[in-house]
């Protein structure tokens, strides 16, 4: 049994950040994912491309446990998390953002981030209000600053502009000590200026934090990753570095719609 501390440390240090083996997800008779096998190194940044309905978001949902895979295994830093409920995966350092912002519209920006920080720390059930000098409050404050939302931190989320809500999505995913993040179309609906800001936030993340990013905008996607995976009809169709993928005739045929190059 590989259960000694040294062995587990060794397993964790050599394991992939994320390792999927034969992940399949059925919706009734429809296969949304078929036999997906994927391995991402710790700190690696990868883009996940593919047309609508290719299964990208379904793959994210299986990884975070929003709904479990029908078959296959998912390992997170060497640990089998296939049967874990979502909150247990999050507490182990997995994070995600949503394609359509899932925020707490009735709470302030700072309260949203505070909840995210509280979710991955102790005293989630505390009945005592946080003190002004609470360390978690300060952490939340720093995070709000990191995503450039300090000016609106006391405003209700419902009153924020779309771009600001997308930035808040990212702040929620950065709370605590993330080890790996799944970004689901973070640039959707952003203006060119906001896109530049997003790229700055993504490339400014600490090096040990890896991520997978679903993004249709090639200018954003290929600038913030070192490898690319293409999905088609619920399968991983091709993997490789950005320049190789960009020039692959099969990929151009499939994803870029033929006469693109």
């Amino acid at each position: 049994m590989a259960t000694s501390v040294a062995e587990r440390l060794h397993a964790a240090s050599t394991a992939s950040a994320l390792e999927l083996r034969g992940v399949t997800r059925m919706f009734g008779a429809l296969a949304a994912l078929t036999d997906v096998t994927l391995s991402v190194r710790p700190g690696e940044r990868r883009a996940l491309l593919g047309s609508n309905g290719a299964g990208k978001t379904t793959l994210f949902n299986c990884i975070t446990g929003d709904f479990p895979p029908t078959s296959g295994t998912i390992r997170f830093f060497g640990e089998d998390i296939t049967g874990f409920p979502p909150h247990e995966r999050i507490r182990r350092g997995l994070r995600r953002t949503y394609q359509i912002s899932l925020l707490f519209a009735g709470l302030s920006v700072l309260d949203n981030v505070y909840l995210a920080c509280r979710g991955v720390s102790r005293a989630r059930f505390s009945l005592l209000r946080p003190r002004r000098d609470d360390t978690l409050v300060q952490t939340a404050d720093d995070l709000v600053e990191a995503v450039h939302l300090s000016a609106v931190k006391n405003q209700k989320v419902a009153e924020l502009a779309h771009g600001q809500q997308r930035q808040l999505e990212i702040a929620l995913a950065l709370a605590g000590a993330p080890r790996f993040i799944l970004f689901d179309e973070p640039a959707a609906g952003l203006s060119p200026a906001e896109r530049r800001e997003l790229i700055a936030i993504l490339t400014g993340l600490p090096e040990h934090i890896g991520y997978i990013i679903i993004e249709h905008d090639m200018d954003v996607a290929l600038r913030v990753v070192e490898s690319v995976a293409i999905m088609h009809n619920g399968r991983i169709f091709k993997e490789g570095p950005p320049e190789e993928i960009e020039n692959d005739p099969e990929v151009q045929e499939l994803y870029l719609g033929g006469g693109h190059g």
């Binding site: 909150h87 994070r95 700072l110 995210a116």
Partner: protein
Amino acid sequence: MATARPAVQDRARPLDVSTRLGNWLRRIPPAAWGVGFLLLILPAFANDFILVQVFGWSLILGMIALSLMFLAGYGGMVSLVQMTVAGCAGYMLAIFGTSAIASISLGWPWWLAVLTAILIATLFGTLSGALAVRTAGIYTIMITLAIAAAFFYFTRQNYTIFNGFSGFNGVRPPVVLGVDWRQPTPFYYLTLVCAALSYAAVLYVSRSPFGLALQGTRDNPRRMAALGFNVTAHRIAAYTFASVFAAVAGILLVWLNSQISPGTAGIGPVIDVLVIAVVGGLGSPIGPFIGAIIYVVLRTFALDALVAVGLDGARFQLLIGLGFLAIVFFSPDGVLGLWERARNRWRHRQDVMRIGEETR
């Protein structure tokens, strides 16, 4: 209002205690000071009937409806089991403490019986919650209603523990610290203190990490799980918290009537608590108390009012039903909603007038 009232304050210099207390007191609206003062001096001019049967009963029903408001308003879970939790506490007090049914009651000292009753009733509420939280909407209502109905029929048919149809009488508040708590004025103050503490607790906890997270599970359970929260555990804990003051109210209710029987937590009272909470308004913890006083006043005086206009007094339930219909029809968020809309309209008019004067 452009800014939300944040639970989390800006990073600021830690203030000394007296300044913080001062700030806190200043935030209490003048209307609240007025109502609090009136409630405190009420025994000086109200008779015993008004004191106990109107205000005492309102405060107790308000606490039970507050228990429902906490679950429904902050957690999005409409639980019909809160009246049953109160009934359970009342029965446990009669069984472990002293009543006229000496063959069943164990005659424990009052404080031990009260603590045991609150503990068992809270446990009962928690278990009911554990059954109900995996469902949503109408199914939560059905499951909690089924538990309430089961409790009602069980207490009516079980004679060895619950003494069946007649229940327990002669359950009276004790004499403690030289005060006879069954006298109207002391009993009124007892219910007032319990109700005020429950109200303050709900208000305080609503902005604590637990309360914030509960509101998060109401608005967006999926995101809460994706932030590391165990949504199911959080919801069950909310039932536990809410059941504590439903249980305390149950103790007070038995003392008020000096008896408890299956009808105390029958289907009628169970629905009444929902009516009270909805009529008052589920948006704020003061709503249930407003709803309770409306209910008690209607319940107490509707009969006389009907007889006075020459109608059959037995139709008083009709008046209550019509009142409920009217409020829900005109204001889905209860009396509180009516009040807030009226205030906003008034403020808006003030603003318009001020702007008009400034531009003149």
